[in-house]
Symmetry: C2
Subunit: 238 residues, 2 copies
DNA sequence: CGAGCAGTTGATTCGTATCAACCTTGGTGG
DNA sequence: CCACCAAGGTTGATACGAATCAACTGCTCG
């Protein structure tokens, strides 16, 4: 946690916001925060809401305050691949580009802190620290993408499903470091399938396998408890 | 091409270098170029040479002058995934991090312009433009990675092989915009397989299929001519 | 109560991996 | 000069894992 001597200098809405610590707003001084704060808006959206359409210019950026956003790519014939999941307090949007090559859609209920493109660009122009934060997030996303390429290209269905549960377990709780033992899966089976490059049937089968093997407990199809983290790790191919 | 009025101000070695135009050195003014130039070294390596070991601190960065570098990830049991290919004049290395999560290995003969970590970091500290270039390359690599996730997760073996040929055709010639019609494949079959998440046998089979379909001509197992670009495009799933 | 969506389970098909044989090329040494 | 060998690549037969097709359950909502 950061020590904020002049807490009163920063916008009320920002005070409890994760983005000010781990997110991009951590690069801003109180003055910049106030300036940006004046142009932000809150938004809460339902699961399934399209946040960024691939190839269509987006007028605004956002920080994720809570919830999970899926980044998707679509083939002309309708096949879909989820190319990334984003959690609070990730920055959402494509800097330095009118439009994004990927689409973004709320997987769960998502709360956003939005601001216009120009608001971000104004600050980037005079604050290298902000670009540095954005750069680091891009590098993190790149690492994540490459990790997942390993999963998509080399792993078996069983390993993919195990890897997915571990990925969620690491990220569902933005406050917590390390792995959560119990959580709700923020995606439906069709999304999981699109993320793993499998079908919903195969995903379902391997969930039941993990359950029958006593590695995870699954209630109500959404809530998971990892009962044997080591075994799940081993099942993911490490 | 850029107009360089004071061509004599910049180091001899940099004058004909692609990195000064499309690469990261384009962000540097003549003074910075001279300063960096004093600390650079040339290196030419054989195919198969390990350039960056995953997880091991690297003491230097490099620009690729020619050749192709493959970025690899390894699983504990030996399975390998190639998570990216880099061409001239790409920057090679992981900024702001001691070590990289991926390994880098020369796929073909590779010429590099190397410089110590500290040389780059010194310039980044006072030149936001350089970080901006690095940031843009990271974003480009991220787009590439996500494109390839689509390929790995959703496409059939036939589509993967076609996509691979199109990828090469777009990148083998760094000077040329658009697609090359004829080129040498800088990877052996085993590399291609690791890149596509297939086996060498499957890759080989689909090469012969494309050849028999009259879409490409293959001589000496390495040299390819794309005879029907449209058909190859269609075969890749667009 | 019925419709529709999300998810599970089973039977079958199909695509790719696996295993194995073989071909080609380039380098080495008798 | 040729026999030999190893590495890279192709081709064929078979096995296996995931996709597909299909039936069914449970749940929510009108």
């Amino acid at each position: 946690m950061r020590l904020d001597i002049h807490n009163s200098d920063i916008p009320v809405l920002c005070r409890a916001c994760e983005a000010r610590h781990k997110g991009i707003c951590g690069a801003l001084d109180p003055g910049q925060l106030v300036r940006l704060g004046r142009r932000t808006g809150r938004r809460e959206v339902e699961p399934g809401t399209e946040l960024i359409a691939a190839g269509i210019p987006a007028e605004s950026y956002a920080n994720i305050l809570s919830g999970v956003v899926k980044l998707t790519k679509l083939m002309p014939d309708g096949r879909q691949q989820i190319v990334g999941l984003q959690f609070a307090p990730d920055f959402l949007g494509r800097p330095f580009s009118e439009s994004s090559e990927v689409g973004a859609e709320a997987a769960s209920t998502v709360r956003l802190c939005t601001f216009p493109r120009s608001a971000l660009e104004d600050i980037v122009r005079c604050s290298p620290a902000l670009e540095h934060r954005l750069h680091r997030q891009a590098l993190r996303e790149l690492d994540d993408a490459r990790d997942w390429m390993m999963t998509l290209g080399q792993k078996s269905a069983a390993e993919k499903v195990a890897s997915f549960l571990l990925l969620l377990s690491r990220h569902v709780d933005p406050l917590k470091e390390g792995y959560s033992q119990e959580f709700d899966i923020p995606l439906k089976r069709a999304d999981i399938a699109d993320f793993l490059g499998l079908t919903i049937e195969t995903v379902s089968r391997h969930f039941t396998r993990l359950r029958k093997a006593g590695i995870v407990a699954i209630e109500t199809n959404r809530h998971v408890t990892i009962t044997d983290h080591g075994a799940l790790m081993a099942a993911s191919g490490l």
